[in-house]
């Protein structure tokens, strides 16, 4: 297995899928000549040319809709949002067109499109450039929502997303592009959508984490192990459809749950997972489910305030100790 960064893994996924299928193209702001605002598309213009790697004007609603139209007639667009913050401008096309076209046409269209880019917090860019939007997109039937936390998952899931016949919201994390990990080799390496991954096994408590909170949860688990608490870390990887079975199995094993997320807690993904656990495994819970979420404030600029707004290892450790009634 090769060791590479998340950025390189994503780049490899796109390169392999573009080599495999002529109908795949990449369109977004600065994806071609600039090589990607975060260098995820580095080298793709050179390899595939301007027909398939296209710099778009800053026109999110327009190019998102263009992608959906192209997908309606069989192309497989990969639409890059420089960040998901800007996807807010494109939500009409993502939600009203991409998510609903198949249903409202009585099943006549496939919409094989991927909307991808960084989601969640970045470094000191304040409120409009630092927010987690997964609960928005996960709300709508018709969309699939994917959030990888390792380079291997990033590659395998992006390849699956590009091959999938439905619209996929593929959410990367700006803070994670540089993290390294082992990635299985070979063009056929795929990670299926809708399958959670137990990132660490344990028996006393479960932390459900996604994207950036997965490495935090793993660190918290190490810390807790020193304190004599065995923690299981479950990464759903796909938010919609959610692999609730894997989550429930873990709950049945540990009976205690903490959900860690960057996004706001209110109406968030953790709230949904908590509700499903309550509905399906109420009798297995030895403590109320706790959430460690982003603060319920727009993201501040100041470094100290930004740190306070985000989940961290310390808060996750504290929450696990709380559900384990250790404090």
């Amino acid at each position: 297995m090769a060791v590479m960064t998340m950025r390189e893994a994503l780049n490899q996924a796109m390169r392999e899928e573009m080599q495999r299928d002529e109908s795949v193209f990449l369109l977004g702001e600065e994806v071609a000549e600039y090589q990607g605002a975060y260098k995820v598309s580095k080298g793709l213009l050179e390899e595939f040319g301007g027909k398939r790697v296209i710099d778009s004007p800053i026109t999110e609603l327009g190019f998102a809709g263009l992608g959906v139209g192209a997908a309606m007639v069989g192309l497989r667009p990969v639409i890059e949002f420089m960040t998901f913050n800007f996807s807010i401008l494109a939500t009409d096309q993502i939600i009203n067109s991409a998510a609903k076209m198949r249903y409202m046409s009585g099943g006549q269209f496939k919409i094989p499109i991927v909307f991808r880019g960084p989601n969640g917090s970045a470094f000191q860019v304040s409120s409009q450039h630092s927010q987690a939007l997964e609960s928005w997109y996960a709300h709508f039937p018709g969309l699939k929502v994917v959030m990888p936390s390792t380079p291997a998952d990033a590659k395998g899931l992006l390849k699956s997303a590009i091959r999938d016949d439905d619209p996929v919201i593929f959410m990367e994390q700006e803070r994670m592009y540089g993290i390294k990990g082992e990635v299985p080799e070979g063009e056929d390496f795929l990670v299926p959508l809708g399958v959670a991954d137990v990132k660490r096994e344990g028996k006393d408590a479960t932390i459900i984490a996604r994207s950036m909170t997965v490495p935090l949860a793993l660190k918290a688990a190490e810390e807790l192990e020193k304190q004599g608490v065995s923690v299981e870390v479950v990464d759903p990887r796909t938010i919609r459809p959610l692999d609730i079975e894997t989550i429930i199995n873990s709950v049945k094993k540990t009976n205690r749950v903490v959900i860690a997320e960057e996004s706001h807690a209110f109406c968030g993904v953790a709230a949904e997972i908590s509700a499903q656990i309550m509905e399906r495994a109420f009798d297995y819970l030895d403590a109320p489910v706790l959430r460690v979420s982003g603060a319920d404030v727009p993201m501040p600029y100041a470094k100290n305030l930004e740190r306070l707004a985000l989940p961290d290892v310390e808060r996750i450790v504290k929450a696990v100790r709380e559900v384990a009634y250790l404090d």
């Binding site: 609603l61 809709g65 139209g69 192209a70 007639v73 667009p77 067109s97 009585g106 699939k144």
Partner: protein, 369 residues
């Protein structure tokens, strides 16, 4: 030559009496225009073969009678939700689509019954869709605003104002990507021109030279708000200049003028991958939807446009040129009546979607949870 746009009222709240006065000014110009256009239409007739001319008349009458029946069914409670009628605008869909090849694409807004019928979806399937039945072209899941037929290349039926414009641009992108010479026709009302989606799409279409023909059906009212009250610069065709796109102003009450302008736009699209913007001035005789009381325009204004009824005008032209006689017209009307009656019967007898249909067609590759 074109009718002068009504002057803008800064308050945006001109009363009916005041509008009546302005209407009178417009009326003279419209009559003059009408006479001029009538002569033009007579000239155009010789450029089109008789079979095509009669097919176009048949299609216009089919839309008219189909929608009259739909209005009736709506009042009987057989059609629910919104039902936006196209009556008065028939020359736009028929004129433009008569110039299209079967492998080209078309998509439009929620006022889509006419386009769907001309693109070849059967009246049975359209009526059944309006009735919310499984035999409808979208299996009863889309309704009046979401008619689709992928095989006939009619790609909807879109109900967010302007939402179809980026989609059409993407379809044109795809046909060019595949090196075909197919074109895409994208219809929208003039109110959609104020949406960002319109401007973003035209910019991309010219930037990347996409074979999309943007057809603005300017019926002069966005729901109950007149063009003058909604658009600071109300000449839609001129907006194409901002994007260096070719544009034309077309009289939408003259089906042959519409066809001729579309042919010119198609030529640009097929040979040079160039987009065009057509501003087709038309008028809807009915309300915005079936629930529209129509307080925002005068009876006199509607009647003046009804004098220029595109079906009547075209029918008269065909008679004058001896393409059509009384017997020929009766034959068309009889055929249409039978088709519309059959459509209602089909829609009545088609079953409702089975309850299981609630959860189908959400994903192409569902992941079982």
């Amino acid at each position: 030559m074109r009718p002068r746009a009504k002057t803008n009222s800064p308050s945006g709240s001109a009363g009916v009496a005041e509008r009546e006065e302005k209407d009178q000014i417009d009326a003279d110009e419209l009559r003059e225009e009408h006479e001029h256009r009538k002569q033009e239409q007579r000239k155009h007739i010789e450029e089109v073969d008789n079979e095509t001319l009669l097919r176009m008349l048949y299609q216009m009458i089919l839309i008219r009678r189909f929608e009259e029946k739909a209005a009736e069914a709506y009042t009987l409670g057989k059609i629910g939700g919104f039902c936006h009628l196209y009556i008065g605008q028939e020359a736009v869909a028929v004129g433009t689509l008569s110039a299209l090849r079967p492998d080209d694409y078309a998509l439009t807004s929620y006022r889509d019954h006419g386009h769907a019928l001309v693109m070849g979806i059967s009246p049975d399937e359209v009526m059944a869709e309006l009735f919310g039945k499984i035999g409808g072209c979208s299996k009863g899941k889309g309704g009046s605003m979401h008619l689709f037929d992928a095989d006939k290349h009619f790609l909807g039926g879109h109900a967010i104002v302007g939402g179809q414009i980026p989609l059409a641009t993407g379809i044109a992108f795809a046909t060019k990507y595949r090196d075909t010479d197919q074109v895409t026709l994208c219809y929208f009302g003039e109110a959609a021109v104020n949406q960002g989606a319109f401007h973003e799409s035209l910019n991309m279409a010219q930037l990347w030279k996409l074979p999309c023909i943007y057809v603005c059906e300017n019926n002069q009212y966005g729901m109950g708000t007149s063009l003058a009250r909604a658009m600071s610069q109300s000449n839609v065709a001129e907006k194409a200049c901002s994007y260096d796109i070719a544009s034309e102003f077309v009289d939408g009450m003259d089906v042959l003028a519409v066809r001729a302008a579309t042919e010119r736009a198609i030529e640009r699209a097929r040979t040079d991958y160039l987009p065009s913007l057509l501003e087709v001035r038309t008028y809807r005789f009915m309300g915005h939807s079936m629930s529209d009381p129509g307080h925002y325009r005068t009876r006199a204004e509607i009647e003046r446009y009804q004098e220029r009824d595109p079906i009547k005008v075209f029918g008269n032209s065909l008679r004058e040129k001896n393409v059509l006689d009384d017997a020929g017209l009766k034959e068309i009307e009889d055929r249409v009546r039978a088709e519309v009656e059959r459509a209602v019967k089909f829609a009545d007898s088609s079953p409702e979607p089975a309850p299981e249909e609630l959860y189908t067609d959400i994903y192409a590759t569902p992941i079982k949870q």
